[in-house]
Symmetry: C2
Subunit: 308 residues, 2 copies
């Protein structure tokens, strides 16, 4: 749909108005949908003398984008954010949120099957409680921490949150975690650090985040293999980490910001211990991680310096 508006204006002083119906065709949206988006201020076509709306090419482009984002299940408010240039920042969180929801849906799916094949209602209910607990923590993690970091730890920890709470100790740990996460906003990231962080990590996609997590997992599960297969990369990496280039990079500054925050907020002192109490699979993972780290330091003793 290209409008020969130039010709119209040039030769005849005639104004060519683009009507809704054409816009509907071009965007495959209904009239009512378009009217709704107008009412939401997402586009603002001029209104001509005869009260008809006049859509410009920009309006149509915007509507096409809206249509796509709606089909990808974004809500109107999120679409507004995406359109107003916070695109990657918003999509990153939403994509992660969808991935997390996805895992829960999978579990619910299995529960439906279980119901179908005769499992009793009480057992299903118990498992549903576990799913909800997982959801609560994962969502709070996602939105308590800025940008990429929220996506990462939310995804990282949700893996360990599928266990049923059985003991009083676990129940207490769950409460501690909720308290911790509810109070994060008050402690908060320093605002400039937060913006800096978001700006520098907004282009990392949810898939990349998962890949990073998955790689770490594999490395920890089998450190010997990881160390032998990645000798060159690791040497390079360690060199880079000790270089001035790194010390002056945004990555380094982000690391420092995170470290400070984790110390001050109680991430290390409250959150991590509570997670270990809550989830035996997480505790197990931490133990493996420690072993892997020791093996790593045996091979690369220089790396000790980096932690200081």
């Amino acid at each position: 749909l290209t409008i020969p508006q130039g010709f119209g204006l040039l030769f005849k002083q005639e104004v060519i108005i683009v009507f809704v119906k054409e816009v509907c065709k071009a965007t495959k949206l209904t009239k009512k949908a378009i009217e709704y988006y107008i009412s939401q201020g997402m586009i603002s076509p001029k209104i001509s003398e005869n009260t008809y709306r006049d859509f410009c090419q920009d309006d149509i482009e915007t509507l096409k984008k809206i249509s796509i984002l709606r089909k990808l299940d974004l809500g109107i408010d999120d679409i507004k954010k995406v359109l107003s240039c916070e695109m990657n920042q918003v999509l990153q969180k939403l994509s992660t949120q969808k991935k997390l929801k996805f895992e829960r849906e999978k579990t619910k799916q299995l529960l439906l099957d279980k119901l179908c094949s005769g499992t009793n209602w009480a057992d299903i209910e118990i498992e549903l409680v576990a799913i909800e607990q997982n959801e609560t923590i994962a969502e709070k993690l996602l939105y308590s921490f800025p940008g990429y970091y929220g996506c990462f730890i939310s995804f990282h920890f949700s893996r360990f949150l599928n266990e049923l709470i059985k003991t009083v100790e676990q129940q207490e740990a769950y409460q501690e975690i909720l308290n911790f996460l509810d109070n994060i906003p008050t402690i908060g990231f320093p605002k400039d650090a937060q913006e800096f962080f978001i700006e520098n990590t907004k282009n990392i996609s949810a898939q990349q985040i998962i890949d990073i997590d998955e790689n770490t997992k594999q490395a920890i599960a089998n450190p010997e293999k990881f160390l032998s297969e990645n000798k060159e990369k690791l040497t390079e990496y360690l060199e880079y980490m000790q270089s001035d280039e790194y010390r002056n990079s945004p990555a380094y500054r982000m690391k420092c910001v995170l470290k400070d925050f984790n110390n001050i907020s109680g991430y290390y002192k409250i959150f991590i211990p509570a997670m270990k109490k809550l989830s035996s699979s997480y505790k197990e993972y931490c133990m493996q991680a420690e072993i892997a780290n020791e093996k790593f330091l045996e091979v690369y003793p220089d790396a000790k310096k980096l932690d200081e």
Copy 2:
């Protein structure tokens, strides 16, 4: 929550009323949710003289079930069906529907990531069209065929429906399929056959359906392996298929019903050829299936009789 109503009535003629608040506690539902379910006729507690509602133990049990089913994302109408003893029949379809939706969500997820990492809008739009086409066909298959059979073929074919329509021939095939599926209700399964079918297959879970499909896929992909690994089972199976026991079983009757229907409805003459035109991966699959079948008949020539 057990109410000593017996005692109350026996010794004192005193009526013990169970109030909403207790029901809220017992079911973890809100008052408003409970009121809504009452307005929908899902429970009908008596109303005592002082206009207070009096919930019985049955009401509470029903509410607990409703709560669970809502958390599993069933709508109110579906829940009504489940509660009115069509449980397995409904859950089977819903579970399959969810699985299909699930796959689509996964694809949409990837599209979100693609958008995030810079893929242009037009490419995303094209892929969205493919997802919608898949959805249209899969949904129609699911609800055009009764019980287990609808679940099975819907799931079976959706695997091959992720290709983009590029040629005119594909577009035509797509239309043929839609026409075919829209006219199925008019041809229809004979009603008694349909009931018979649903009755005999309602206990098959969505997971089992997928497993069956997956097994077939594997067998076709590598027939030699399948034939050598399942010698005993296959011999047993062929014997059973030739026995009077089988000829008198519901399974046999169902097979006949299906075969007749597939001949009359145009399933073989219209639907299958159109699918081959639409989807190259399905065409490929069919060719493999034919090869596998020949190999099978080489080893078990007796099986030829079964097809007549």
